[in-house]
């Protein structure tokens, strides 16, 4: 597939935004159950604002993918069958809840509705946060399933796709949350940096598992099934056009194998190894700058990862577009 940067930015930005929110709510949950001392509202408000900005940027990027952005509202129609439609519904709902969650913290508006038997308060932010928590995971699943549900794009058609969207988004979000905590709420920095380290490591396992799986894939469709001629040796002589078409532009990444291999190692280093080292340094030295650097490197690495994710997928229609003359 031809990696569209609109979708690369959409998925990486909202992934980080969701991860950042999940990190914030993790801290709030720890605090609610008395595992941490209560953190300043500024931390949550600022974090939610950053998450919201990431989500808005992702949403803006997605519009560049559309031929008719002014009709985007129509995309909510077919949520019964289309994962893309579900994502279109869940994303704004999640953004709204993150916004409310951040505002509730910012304004200090946090009435307690009830008390759990353990003594943990059920307050406004806990309710909003829980709902947003559910939607954050729903959004990861929608985003992942958009790709995983296409059964003949076999590089994507695996539960690992959804798992990786959760882990990679979560990793970048927690890394950003650790950098934010170093500045605003230093007490929770070790917790968040530790989780970021763990999730990044899990992400590495998930992504490596996908790479290994995809390297062993054998194509189900061949030229034989594509044109229905049962002969072991078939060669295309002409695709029926010479100047290129949508089929030659949309489904080929147009890069050499060596570029693809370079990008693979680049993202493995930039999205996983370097951030893990930087997170470990930041964790031991309590250095916010290092943690911020970890996030920047990891985010750039994830852009490369997403580019590779699209480029690696080999669409069966490419069988029909092998030769020009």
């Amino acid at each position: 597939m031809h990696p569209a940067f609109s979708v690369v930015f959409l998925t990486t930005l909202i992934g980080a935004g969701q991860g950042l929110f999940l990190a914030l709510f993790t801290v709030e949950s720890y605090a609610a159950f008395g595992l941490l001392s209560p953190q300043p509202d500024d931390f949550y408000a600022l974090g939610s604002a950053i998450a919201f900005v990431l989500l808005v940027l992702g949403l803006i990027a997605s519009f560049f993918h559309l031929g008719h952005p002014e009709r985007a509202w129509r995309a909510a129609a077919k949520w019964r069958t289309s994962w893309l439609s579900r994502e279109v519904i869940v994303l704004p709902a999640f953004m709204g809840l993150v916004c409310l969650y951040g505002c509730a913290h910012w304004l200090g508006l946090n009435p307690v509705f009830a008390q759990l038997p353990s003594g943990a308060p059920v307050n406004l932010t806990a309710v909003l946060g829980s709902l947003a928590w559910v939607l954050a995971f729903a959004l990861y699943i929608c985003t992942g399933m958009i790709y995983a549900c296409l059964k003949f794009l076999r590089e994507w058609h695996t539960p690992l796709t959804v798992i990786n969207y959760i882990l990679l988004g979560g990793a970048s979000g927690f890394t950003l949350a650790a950098a934010l905590a170093a500045a605003v709420a230093p007490e929770v920095m070790p917790l968040l940096a530790g989780w970021a380290l763990i999730i990044t490591f899990l992400g590495l396992i998930g992504r490596a598992a996908t790479l290994i799986r995809n390297a062993r894939l054998k194509p189900k469709s061949t030229l034989q099934t594509a044109i229905g001629v049962k002969h072991p040796k078939i060669m295309q002589k002409s695709m029926g056009l010479m100047g290129g078409s949508f089929n030659t532009r949309e489904f080929f990444h147009g890069q050499s194998r060596s570029v693809l291999r370079s990008v693979k190692w680049l993202f493995l280093v930039a999205a996983f190894f370097v951030p893990m080292v930087l997170l470990a340094i930041g964790l031991s030295q309590a250095a916010g700058g290092v943690l911020l650097a970890a996030f920047v490197v990891q985010y750039l690495g994830l852009i490369a990862e997403r580019w590779f994710f699209f480029a690696q997928a080999n669409h069966p229609q490419n069988l029909y577009y092998q030769s020009v003359a």
């Binding site: 009709r71 289309s82 893309l84 469709s221 001629v229 040796k233 078409s245 949508f246 229609q317 029909y320």
Partner: protein, 243 residues
């Protein structure tokens, strides 16, 4: 239930691209707007087509065959492009099984083209919506045309009658018979898309004549030892006379 479809005979197709040209002509002139070409006279001309003829070489020299392979939307009975469409712009008609795109609802997200294993859909670079073969839906129901003309443009154009059009759910239709009697098959059956369009395979036409069909072994004249005259070895009338 009706399922309209094309049956394309690869044994007959000569790869002349008349179907491509006539398809483009008809569908670029329709009420749904043109099939736009970009740089038609420039360096990299490109444009939207519903139908393409591709060419494949099968086998190894000197035992090769050239297969001309027309490809357009197959109007699958289980179209994978339809459920993924977020707006409902992409739909399959219940009454005749034609898969269509509502150009007024399409947001141009290209997701349906990702979901089609055959590459049958093309984004129109000018109108920014997804386009594909309509089986000339604006033509086949137009009662102002004669019955002969109420067929898709590609079928009308084919000089060798390699393209048949009809209802594959009607067992007595021309297309059903062609599929049944000539080994009609579907493309990429492995994905369960159940394409409605079928292809008829290449086949060698050979005349097999046995010796005893040229000269009957049980010819009664042989029993009587009276062989037909003139004998088989003697020159025939054509050899000895000139008119």
């Amino acid at each position: 239930m009706t399922q309209l479809a094309l049956v394309i005979d690869l044994n007959v197709c000569v790869g002349c691209h008349a179907c491509v040209t006539n398809c483009k002509e008809w569908n670029t002139s329709g009420s749904a707007g043109p099939l736009v070409d970009l740089n038609p006279y420039g360096k990299d001309p490109t444009g939207t087509f519903f139908n393409r003829v591709q060419t494949f070489e099968v086998g190894e020299f000197p035992h090769t065959e050239t297969v001309h392979f027309p490809k357009s939307c197959l109007h699958c009975e289980e179209p994978p492009c339809v459920p993924v469409c977020p707006t409902g712009a992409s739909y399959k008609r219940a009454e005749d099984g034609i898969v269509l795109v509502d150009y007024d609802k399409c947001i141009g997200c290209k997701y349906c083209s990702w979901a089609c294993p055959y590459g049958a859909r093309e984004l129109d670079e000018h109108q920014r919506v997804m386009k594909k073969c309509t089986l000339c839906v604006d033509r086949i129901y137009d009662m102002r045309l004669t019955a002969e003309e109420r067929r898709p443009a590609c079928v009308r154009a084919c000089p060798t009658s390699a393209r048949l059009f009809g209802d594959i759910h009607d067992p007595e239709s021309e297309v059903s018979k062609a599929i049944r009697e000539n080994g009609g098959y579907q493309l990429m059956p492995e994905w369960g898309t159940q394409p409605a369009n079928h292809y008829l395979p290449r086949r060698k036409t050979k005349l097999r004549i046995r010796e005893d069909e040229l000269e009957r072994a049980d010819n009664p004249l042989k029993i009587d030892q009276q062989l037909p005259k003139p004998g088989k070895a003697e020159p025939s009338l054509d050899d000895v006379t000139s008119w």
